[in-house]
């Protein structure tokens, strides 16, 4: 079968890193990602719980781009296995006739670990303690494991526990947004209630989102859904860079959208805060960092309220950060990775409710991977939001 595959070729990772530093997205042509003929992955055990899937659409995520461009943290080395076929935002045809999206986390259930770890027992599969063990090679998710294949190949395998059947009426373009939408639902669920509003409803105060790429926008939608479903009160402010992001954030329910440079001033006004130098004395109860850089985290600490929380949704790497304000103002920085199984059911509703398939701006056949990666890496400035590979028959 044909697939895009990443092999452990250090020279190619280095070349991709250097090229991407000069021109984001251009690293794909020289990097570790290659379009190759490979043997289709086979089910690791024959217990009747594994299925063969034929991906239809598979999205390109920020974490994929980091890996392809050699920018991902070395933290991942022991929890991925080479060579692997990327792609974890997957809508696929299952061998039993269902059309499914994949919950890519390779938790205890998929690895044949019994009894499962404490986290998996509690349903917190995103915190699985056994992601490098069991009968699968290491891999935190499908798309990073050499045994399962991934969404950027014509065929892959997945455990029954990973499959979520989607409504027959739902277009693939909607379905491919379910996985990232589940991430957003998980992030939105971490936004704590700060008190009661004047109207007597739960109030999350001011929530600031830094970054309005796919995750940022979907988090806006997920918070808006909480506002609609739970009556949660909140002031939702979003820092967005590009016009299509501004428009989408407003459309999804953000109360204020502005360039990142204006965020601190806007939060100051919204929260009736004072300021000491660049540091707000008050600030937003929750800041959701969908970028994950030193600059975005520094900004998050600048605008988060004392006792508030910074949720890290964007995948970080090594950052340089002055934590004095965190210490002094008793701020918590909290990681926010992936989802639990139930988030996918909510994600289906979210995708349908907000018509999130419209954010799939462009699809490419895997043969045009360099072009696709370039487009995804420059999505903002090229007016795009989500880029995906199209593996349906015509391609």
């Amino acid at each position: 079968m044909r697939a895009l595959q990443i092999d452990r070729k250090l020279a190619r990772f280095a070349a991709a890193k250097i090229t991407s530093l000069i021109a984001p997205g251009k690293g794909a042509a020289h990097g570790p990602l290659q379009c190759v003929e490979v043997r289709a992955p086979h089910t690791p055990v024959d217990d009747g719980n594994w299925h063969v899937l034929r991906p239809r659409l598979s999205g390109i995520c920020g974490s994929d781009l980091s890996t392809i461009e050699g920018a991902a943290s070395r933290y991942f080395e022991p929890i991925v296995s080479f060579p692997f076929i990327p792609g974890h935002e997957i809508v696929a045809d299952c061998d039993d006739g269902r059309r499914v999206v994949v919950v890519p986390v390779l938790s205890c259930a998929t690895r044949g670990i019994d009894p499962p770890c404490r986290q998996c027992q509690a349903g917190l599969i995103n915190r699985c303690e056994r992601i490098a063990f069991g009968h699968l090679s290491p891999g935190l998710q499908t798309g990073f494991c050499s045994d399962t294949g991934g969404g950027w190949g014509q065929q892959m395998v997945a455990h029954e526990s990973q499959l979520v059947e989607i409504p027959t009426t739902m277009p693939d373009e909607q379905a491919v947004m379910i996985e990232p939408a589940a991430c957003a639902i998980h992030a939105a669920a971490q936004v704590a209630v700060a008190g009661m509003s004047a109207a007597g409803v739960n109030d999350a105060g001011t929530v600031a989102i830094i970054g309005a790429g796919t995750f940022g926008l979907l988090t806006v939608a997920a918070l808006q859904a909480r506002r609609q479903d739970e009556g949660l009160a909140l002031n939702l402010v979003v820092a967005a860079r590009y016009p299509q992001q501004v428009g989408a954030a407003r459309m999804l329910g953000a109360d204020r959208v502005m360039p990142g440079a204006e965020l601190a001033r806007s939060v100051r006004r919204m929260t009736a805060s004072m300021a000491i130098g660049d540091q707000l004395t008050g600030g937003a109860e929750t800041v959701i960092d969908c970028v994950g850089s030193s600059d975005s985290l520094a900004q998050a600490l600048q605008i988060v309220a004392p006792g508030g929380t910074v949720l890290m949704v964007g995948m970080p790497n090594t950052v340089s950060l002055n934590l004095t304000a965190l210490w002094h103002r008793e701020v918590a920085i909290r990681g926010c990775y992936a989802y639990q199984r139930a988030d996918f059911d909510r994600a289906i509703d979210l995708v349908e409710r907000f018509d999130l398939g419209r954010f799939v701006t462009e699809t490419y056949p895997i043969a045009q991977f360099a072009e696709a990666i370039d487009h995804a890496a420059n999505a903002g400035r090229r007016g795009a939001i989500k880029i995906a590979f199209d593996l349906r028959e015509k391609n």
Binding site: R256, M258, E262, R265, S266, R269, A272, S273
Partner: protein, 528 residues
């Protein structure tokens, strides 16, 4: 004998006209046979013996006892004076305020008055820096009063420093500086640069609080002022006068001192700025070219510094003291004598070069909101009778309109630009939706009271100032402005004057009449 103002009809032989562009200039050709240029009058002669005139006025006031008769030992005397927003540019030392305050203090000392406070009446403007206070009142007064806390600046947000005097029948609350209100005599020292300065506006605005100011600094009042320079048709003026009645009935006794200046605006090396182009000598042309070329190469920060260091040679042409309204009537005549230029009929397109300075950016930056205020607030309102531009006409300004803000002086302007103008340019909408939250923002209050920031509500007032202009013209075009900033203001950017006329033709046709307001120096068009 100085020549009066003049209206020049532009023909093919008319040389290009100078337009201000912030900290620079350009020469522009206006369309011949349908354009005219309004030039201000030449500066009236200054009074020969200024100190003598001051003393004479204090001893011979209008509808009032002489000042010495109002002074007595044990009394509370407060002297308030106009802040850094006047005059423009700042005048060469000694400032007229210094001369007047010294004269008043001499009389107070002779009368044995020892409880004297001197207050900068800055309303919601920024506090003055020490060097600005010294420039205004002189070192002698500053050193004698400031160190003892007897020379200070009005604080419109000091809950213990304000006194409520009552409300007008229209419900306008009058709340002014407590020390001034509690005084046996309030002497107010004005510089009446334009016709709207002075009168009851001095006390009812300069010493007032937001609670009081909001009754006339609002879109409704501003849009009903036709114009600010015409007392009989200015709702702003009427509101201040209604408040004045409350002041008269329930406030301190006021001894009003009003002074007028001539329009000798620029020093010798910038003389060409005040001249009519066809009268430029070879030296003027060389001066213009040299200045323009060097400014074009000068970083904008340095250029600002150079321009704000200009001290104008303008001098006093009149001083009158006594009862507020009687004094102001005469003052207005003096202002008109210097500034009125008779103009026949309105125009389709009004052009104006916006200079580097306004009352609200002394030693600072003319940010985009102040560009709007200068164009549609001040220059548009420089008329008596009818607006220079017809209803549905076009205003063309020239200014770089950079989205630059002085972070210390104008913090709320930045937020206004980012958060309010990005949503609406409608004065009524922004007033209803945002004004209160800006006015009551504790951070802005803190910066206003302790730093050098304009009050949080001030950018709204600047926008309201232009609201009559906004309402009146169909389109405003800024030539040479930063495209994004110009659009944020709701205006149309144009690269060149030719482009601007082309754009304007969509609104007013291809044979539209053009009038250029050749100012500064200041003038008021008396439109017949």
């Amino acid at each position: 004998m100085p020549r009066p103002g003049f209206v020049l009809d532009v023909d093919r032989s008319t040389p290009p006209t100078m337009f201000w562009r912030g900290e620079g200039f350009s020469l522009e050709k206006l369309p011949p046979d349908r354009s005219r240029i309004i030039y201000p009058a030449e500066p009236l002669p200054a009074l020969d013996d200024i100190d003598g005139a001051i003393r004479h006025a204090l001893l011979n006031p209008i509808d009032s006892d002489p000042l010495p008769a109002l002074l007595f030992p044990g009394m509370k005397l407060t002297i308030a004076f106009d802040d850094v927003s006047l005059p423009l540019p700042k005048m060469r030392r000694p400032d007229i305020r210094q001369r007047v305050i010294e004269a008043v203090l001499d009389l107070a000392a002779e009368a044995g008055v020892d409880d004297v406070h001197i207050i900068a009446a800055l309303a919601l403007h920024r506090r003055m820096h020490e060097f600005e206070l010294r420039h205004a009142v002189g070192d002698r007064v500053y050193d004698a009063f400031a160190p003892r806390g007897l020379l200070y600046q009005h604080d419109a947000e000091d809950p213990d420093g304000l006194a409520f005097l009552g409300a007008t029948p229209e419900g306008e609350e009058v709340e002014i500086n407590k020390r001034a209100a509690d005084s046996d005599l309030l002497v107010y020292v004005n510089i009446n640069l334009v016709a709207m300065d002075g009168g009851w506006k001095s006390t009812a605005t300069g010493l007032a609080s937001y609670r009081s100011l909001r009754h006339h600094h609002n879109p409704t009042t501003m849009q009903a002022s036709h114009s600010f320079m015409d007392q009989h048709r200015s709702e702003l003026h009427k509101s201040n006068w209604r408040m004045g009645k409350i002041m008269r009935d329930h406030g301190p006794r006021v001894f009003q001192i009003e002074t007028t200046l001539n329009t000798d605006t620029f020093p010798k090396n910038f003389e060409f700025l005040s001249k009519r182009e066809w009268e430029w000598t070879a030296r003027d042309r060389a001066g213009f070219l040299a200045t323009k070329k060097s400014l074009d190469r000068t970083p904008v920060k340095l250029a600002r510094k150079i321009f704000h260091s200009i001290e104008a040679p303008h001098q006093m042409t009149s001083i009158q003291c006594g009862e507020v309204e009687a004094v102001h009537k005469i003052t207005t005549e003096h202002v008109y004598a210097q500034q009125l230029v008779e103009v026949q009929g309105q125009t389709d397109i009004l052009t104006m070069g916006i200079p580097y300075i306004s009352p609200y950016n002394v030693h600072s930056i003319l940010n985009p909101i102040l560009v709007m205020c200068m164009g549609l607030g001040y220059y548009f309102n420089m008329y008596r009778g009818k607006p220079l531009v017809r209803l549905g006409g076009v205003v063309i300004m020239t200014h770089p309109t950079l989205p630059d803000f002085h972070p210390v002086h104008h913090p709320s302007y930045i937020d206004f630009y980012e958060q309010v103008l990005s949503e609406t340019t409608d004065p009524h909408v922004m007033s209803a939706k945002y004004e209160k939250s800006f006015a009551e923002d504790e951070w802005y209050k803190h910066l206003y009271r302790t730093s050098y920031a304009y009050h949080g509500v001030h950018p709204f007032y600047m926008w309201y100032w232009g609201s009559h202009g906004l309402q009146h013209v169909a389109r405003t075009i800024i030539v040479g402005g930063n495209t994004k900033a110009v659009r944020r203001l709701g205006f149309t950017p144009a690269s060149t004057m030719e482009d601007a006329f082309e754009i304007a033709s969509d609104v007013v046709g291809r044979n539209a009449t053009v009038t250029h307001l050749h100012t500064p120096p200041l003038m008021v068009a008396d439109v017949k």
